[in-house]
């Protein structure tokens, strides 16, 4: 589905991501873990076109998408959430999700002028219904008309997922979907991630909560100092000496 080859990103003299190879299989939940500053978020920014790679190749569904702009990558079928939540704060929950549908709908200034002011168009109503269905999926149906700003942290993370799903991705990148959550909330997040996978969306996620990662992931890639140090099933990674060293210190 997604193939990353020799992906490198340097900021001046600092290499945040160094020659990373990664293959995400369709239908999988694939986790990227690593200590703080390991390059996980930079990797996400590269895959979603937010940053352009210094070197390497990105292939999505067999098509070379290296250096594509973020909006084109999204249109191609890759969506994401942000670690430091970036919702449209003054817009309501349902509006946030509807913005997510932007690249799957059409209509500019002329279409806006040519509509009936008192009756939404067929396409607009379809967008609203899809947005409502996604809010339902993430458990925010009751918060439909609440400004994103007024939602709790957990609700905001869920809304970000709904908004990302509205772009109709085949690959969804979740950047620390459980950050700042309690164990119960993490269980809910787990269930949601699996529900999304069951809808046929491949998931690539980063996370610090090992309980979540070990439970949901089919495959785990471990980064440290921008390099891939291990990869495999949760059991393999759990036993990997280099991973233990990276997390617990070299003597562990």
């Amino acid at each position: 589905m997604l193939a990353v080859e020799g992906l490198t990103k340097s900021f001046g003299g600092f290499t945040a991501v160094a020659e990373v190879d990664l293959v995400v299989d369709p239908g999988a939940i694939h986790a990227v873990i690593g200590p703080n500053g390991a390059g996980k978020t930079t990797l996400f920014n590269l895959v979603t076109g937010v940053l352009a790679p210094s070197a390497g190749r990105l292939t999505f569904e067999g098509q070379d998408v290296t250096g594509w702009r973020a909006d084109r990558i999204t249109a191609r079928g890759v969506a994401r959430t942000f670690q430091n939540i970036r919702l449209f704060r003054e817009m309501t929950a349902v509006e946030n999700v509807m913005v997510g549908a932007h690249c799957r709908t059409s209509g500019g200034f002329l279409a806006a002028v040519a509509r009936w002011p008192w009756r939404p168009s067929r396409a607009e109503r379809a967008t609203v219904r899809r947005a409502e269905a996604l809010l339902e999926l993430v458990g925010l149906a009751a918060k439909r008309d609440v400004a994103a700003d007024e939602l709790t942290l957990v609700e905001q993370r869920r809304l970000e997922i709904a908004r990302a799903l509205a772009t109709e991705p085949r690959l969804l990148l979740l950047d620390e979907p459980a950050a700042g959550m309690t164990p119960t909330e993490i269980q809910d997040a787990n269930r949601l991630i699996m529900k999304i996978r069951d809808r046929g969306v491949t998931v690539l996620l980063t996370e610090h909560h090992m309980s979540l990662v070990m439970q949901v992931s089919d495959r785990i890639t471990v980064l440290n100092y921008g390099r891939k140090i291990a990869e495999g099933s949760p059991e393999t990674v759990r036993r990997d000496a280099e991973v233990l060293a990276a997390y617990l210190g070299a003597d562990a």
Binding site: T48, V50, R69, A70, D71, T74, A75, A79, R80, F82, R86, L87, F88, R89, E90, M91, T92, V94, E95, M98, V99, G100, H102, C103, R104, T105, S106, G107, G108, F109, A111, A112, V113, R115, P117, P120, E124, R125, T127, V128, R129, E132, D145, A147, R163, T167
Partner: protein, 279 residues
């Protein structure tokens, strides 16, 4: 019948509203401009030349003036929209000055001595119709797909792009349509002032338009209307205090920015998306 004084105040109120709306659109996408006076000048000179030299009908002159201003908007917008915030302000300000100096030196339109002999074509009815049409346009934008995209762009540019919104295209459209409206305002102005020269479209004009939007509130197009009303009517009402009126007006602005920085019209309440029971 309304007396000529009231009529002239109302016409200027309408023209100021048009100009404020020309800035409200780019502002709704988070783009600030101190160059609206330049677009206004293009609309004013182009339409005046058409009606005065070629006897073109006024509506045609309006349309051509507005379109030329829009073209200028696209030409400026293309390089300008890669930069943000205060840098964009400086760039648009530079554009405004270039336009002013161009008309100051352009012989065919009178250069420094100005362009006179324009016949009056702007009427109170015409201005009112223009304002109403523009307000309907803004009301239609709000809550449409493109309106949501503009709002998303203002709130978080990166998130908007990651949601699949083509930033450059959207910004260019907002800037271009804003310039078009400014050109329209300029054409209306020229056919009421009857004499135009480059000084009328200089930095102070751009700044005035900026102040109107700032005063009214950057959040909504009603803010632009309220701001235009305040900036047009207050100096008139304050004539009683004579030479102190501009000082008073300035003080009022400062007070506004301290106690009510969001403008006369507050932030728009999140509007509700109508439900779809007929699924």
């Amino acid at each position: 019948m309304i007396d000529p004084y009231t009529e002239s105040v109302l016409i200027f109120l309408g023209i100021n509203t048009v100009l404020a709306l020309s800035l409200a659109l780019p502002v709704s996408a988070g783009l600030l401009s101190l160059g609206q006076g330049g677009f206004m000048a293009i609309g004013a000179y182009a339409s005046a030349a058409l009606t005065t030299w070629y006897g073109a009908p006024f509506p045609l002159a309006l349309a051509v003036g507005a379109l030329l201003a829009a073209l200028a908007g696209l030409a400026v917008g293309f390089p300008a929209l890669r930069i943000k915030g205060v840098y964009l302000l400086i760039l648009t300000m530079g554009f405004g000055e270039i336009v002013r100096i161009f008309f100051l030196n352009f012989e065919p339109t009178g250069a420094a001595s100005g362009f006179g002999g324009i016949h009056q074509a702007t009427t109170l009815t015409g201005v009112t119709v223009t304002v109403v049409v523009l307000l309907l346009f803004f009301a239609q934008i709000r809550g449409s797909r493109i309106g949501r995209a503009l709002e998303a762009l203002r709130e978080d540019e990166l998130a908007a792009e990651v949601m699949g919104i083509e930033l450059t295209r959207l910004k260019l459209a907002a800037f271009g349509v804003g310039a078009l409206i400014a050109g329209l305002g300029g054409a209306l102005y020229a056919h009421y002032a009857l004499f135009i020269d480059s000084a009328q479209f200089g930095f102070h004009r751009s700044a005035e338009i900026f102040i109107i939007v700032l005063l009214g509130g950057m959040g909504s197009f009603w803010g632009a209307v309220a701001g235009a009303a305040a900036v047009t009517l207050l100096p008139e009402l304050l004539r009683v205090i004579q030479e102190w009126r501009m000082t008073f007006f300035g003080t009022l602005l400062v007070a506004m920015m301290i106690w009510r920085p969001w403008g006369l019209i507050g932030r728009p309440r999140p509007r509700l998306i109508p439900g779809t029971p007929d699924a």
